[in-house]
């Protein structure tokens, strides 16, 4: 990694802009992991790979809604950007099947704030 200096600092910021769409974030703090986030992360990664989809599966911290962990945020082009809660491996497969491939919001796991 190159060291940041006074002069290249702002450039570094602009260089690291994130992908706008086609990603999934899994909340992986202690509480999320306790509720099964790691299994969900693995399932999503495998399923996306198996279907050869160009979707990034990202790890992130705690979204705060511990009562409905594990939480998965899904941002796919052409489908509403939503958060799913109480996601188990079955729901994770559902996200890939219905939300990503079917381009339709999945029932019964939506968390809207």
């Amino acid at each position: 990694m190159d060291k940041l200096t006074k002069d290249n600092f702002q450039k570094a910021k602009n260089d690291s802009v994130q992908k706008k769409t086609n990603w999934i974030k899994v909340g992986m703090s202690t509480c999320g992991i306790a509720a099964g986030a790691r299994e969900v992360y693995d399932t999503l990664t495998e399923e996306v790979k198996r279907r050869n989809l160009n979707i990034d599966i990202l790890k992130t911290g705690c979204l705060g809604m511990c009562y409905i962990e594990p939480l998965v945020e899904v941002c796919i082009e052409g489908v509403p950007h939503v958060v799913y809660g109480n996601v188990d491996t079955k729901a994770a497969l559902g996200i890939v099947d219905k939300h990503i491939c079917g381009k339709r919001v999945m029932n019964d796991h939506l968390v809207i704030k």
Binding site: Q10, T60, G61, C62, L63, G64, M65, Y67, D108, I112
Partner: protein, 580 residues
């Protein structure tokens, strides 16, 4: 691609969940208009609004309808969906006041990736400070922001920094207190795990300001993931040159490393924490001298809590004035709470200072679990107090909470319902402090265990009214005479429950009754003959054979043998066993 997305959910938790029926009717109506490929409708698990009947929200719009009936569907589709007209009689204004500043990056960025933090504006505050501000100017900004310590006491952060800046020394230190000891609070853990760089950024700014070239994270060993992520973040910051020598071409050098706590609540106290970093027993020292003057290895040291430092980063990224826009006269900004206990939506919340407890519990938290009545809210953990339900409309800030006999604390907020006994709660917290007392000073060591003894007798029905006076007297002595914050605040849960729930204490002492049905020794189990269907399930499950009788003559419980384990109650399908 759908033109519109509609979310629905039945938020009335009493009775049956009608979401599915409503969903089916909605879908049916869409089909009859041949809109099913145009408009999608989805059932939500949590729609962000609570106890408002069937709720409907339109994705990407502010439209929220509540208390819906199936007869409303036709109108909603014809007007709102087809013509974009609002039906004002159904409309609802969302009251949830959550606002994420400290938690701005938690759940947004990848905590193991410094590029993510940079892309979201991270380290811009540090850049501003190092390239354009003198230490005195940093303190001036901080003063404008009005930031006060989020660890409990609420001491103005700028003052702490100013003391340390003005104390001449060859070496100074900055410590991040991540020894979150309040049982029932985990705000700091979430920030450390979800946004480690914002805390690091705050620390480097603090280091630059007071002239410290060394910083320590003091983190509970019980938080392995937080430790791992902070270590990783420190390594990344080093390799980016944001920690180390001549940061961003300035003359400022800063080193940062982690020290682990080892399970001692008293180490949340500044002087004890310092002793622990020095590798010693975590026993506190009398203050003054304050750590800002004489701290770690007798050098000036600033100790800030995790949330405080995350706020520092925000202040220098977004500006002190922006920060101070939120909050009350004396308490600026937001506060993160770990909202737990008997609340529906347990979790981590962040609200502006001045939000009322009612808004927090009902609008954000969704109300009390199982729709029981709320009895009190506890804040501040073992050093705090309980706030009874009649004060729920109090805006939360440092002063208001202390007027009610509690404290802001680090952010534990525990909701209690009518089945929670206040004597039991006081005993729980005091028991915690007695176990965690380091034993150095007598008021805390002896006072605590004497009080616990009295509370235990109260809960067993062996105490008299004069014991309550003794409790108050010992509390006063401990508050005045203890050496450190632990002992001084340990009686708070007792004092505040005595203040607000004296009749409940008196029920225990005078009538030997526990109104909440919690204190086991004051309860006795009884079979209600009229309700008993004589199935014998309780006889079979009782582990101590305390239930006898037969199908013909009914059953009874031998209170001498009964251990009050409650198994008979849970197995009885007819609610025929009472405890009181």
């Amino acid at each position: 691609m759908y033109r519109k997305t509609i979310f629905i959910k039945d938020t009335d938790s009493q009775g049956l969940d009608r979401t599915k029926e409503f969903y089916n009717k909605f879908l049916e109506n869409l089909r009859s208009r041949n809109l099913q490929n145009d408009i999608q409708v989805a059932r939500a698990a949590d729609i962000g609004i609570y106890n408002q009947g069937i709720v409907l929200r339109v994705y990407g719009e502010d439209t929220i309808y509540v208390q819906l009936k199936e007869t409303d569907i036709d109108n909603i589709i014809s007007l709102t969906i087809e013509k974009n007209e609002i039906i004002s009689s159904l409309q609802y204004k969302k009251k949830d006041k959550q606002l994420r500043r400290v938690l701005r990056n938690c759940g947004v960025i990848n905590p193991d990736c410094i590029e993510d933090y940079l892309a979201n504006g991270g380290y811009q505050g540090l850049y501003k400070v190092l390239t354009s501000l003198k230490p005195e100017e940093v303190i001036k900004e901080l003063k404008i922001s009005g930031l006060r310590g989020r660890g409990g006491g609420g001491f103005p952060t700028w003052m702490k920094w100013d003391f340390a800046l003005k104390t001449e020394s060859d070496q100074k230190y900055i410590i991040c207190n991540g020894d979150e000891g309040d049982p029932g609070a985990y705000m700091d853990r979430s920030v450390l795990e979800g946004d480690p760089h914002s805390v690091i950024e705050g620390m480097i700014i603090a280091g630059y300001t007071i002239g410290a070239s060394k910083g320590y994270f003091y983190i509970r060993a019980e938080y392995p993931l937080a430790i791992e992520r902070i270590q990783n973040a420190i390594d990344q910051a080093y390799s980016k040159g944001l920690i180390g020598e001549k940061i961003l071409n300035s003359g400022f050098n800063f080193d940062l490393s982690i020290r682990l706590g080892a399970g001692a609540f008293v180490c949340g106290e500044e002087t004890a924490l310092i002793a622990s970093i020095e590798g010693k027993r975590g026993t506190p020292l009398p203050r003054p001298p304050y750590p800002s003057v004489k701290g770690l290895w007798s050098k000036p040291t600033v100790i800030n809590n995790v949330e405080t430092l995350a706020n520092v980063a925000y202040i220098f990224i977004r500006g002190a004035k922006e920060f101070a826009k939120l909050g009350t006269e004396t308490s600026k900004g937001t506060k993160v709470f770990a909202l737990t206990g008997k609340v529906k939506n347990s979790g981590l919340i962040e609200v502006p200072m001045g939000t009322t407890l009612r808004e927090i519990v009902f609008d954000v938290g969704g109300g009390v679990l199982d729709n029981k009545n709320i009895k009190a809210v506890q804040t501040g953990g073992p050093s705090g107090g309980v706030i009874p339900a009649q004060y729920l409309d109090t805006p939360v800030d440092y002063e208001n909470l202390s007027k009610l006999g509690s404290i802001m604390g680090s952010g534990g907020m525990i909701v209690m319902d009518e089945t929670d006994c206040m004597v039991d709660i006081a005993k729980f917290y005091l028991g915690f402090c007695v176990e965690e007392s380091c034993g150095k000073c007598a008021p805390c060591r002896i006072g605590g265990s004497q009080m616990l003894d009295i509370l235990t007798r109260i809960s067993k029905g062996q105490a008299q009214n004069h014991d309550l006076e003794t409790l108050s007297r010992i509390s006063f002595a401990m508050q005045k005479a203890s050496l450190c914050g632990l002992g001084q605040t340990a009686p708070n849960p007792v004092v505040s429950t005595l203040k607000h729930f004296l009749p409940e204490y008196k029920e225990h002492t005078e009538n030997k009754r526990c109104p909440a049905g919690k204190c086991l020794d004051l309860l006795s189990y009884k079979i209600i003959d009229e309700k008993c269907k004589r199935c014998g399930a309780c006889v079979r499950i009782c582990p101590v054979s305390a239930i006898s009788g037969n199908r013909e003559h009914g059953y009874s419980i031998d209170t001498q043998k009964c251990t009050k384990c409650g198994q008979c109650i849970s197995v009885c399908k007819f609610k025929a066993i009472s405890k009181e």
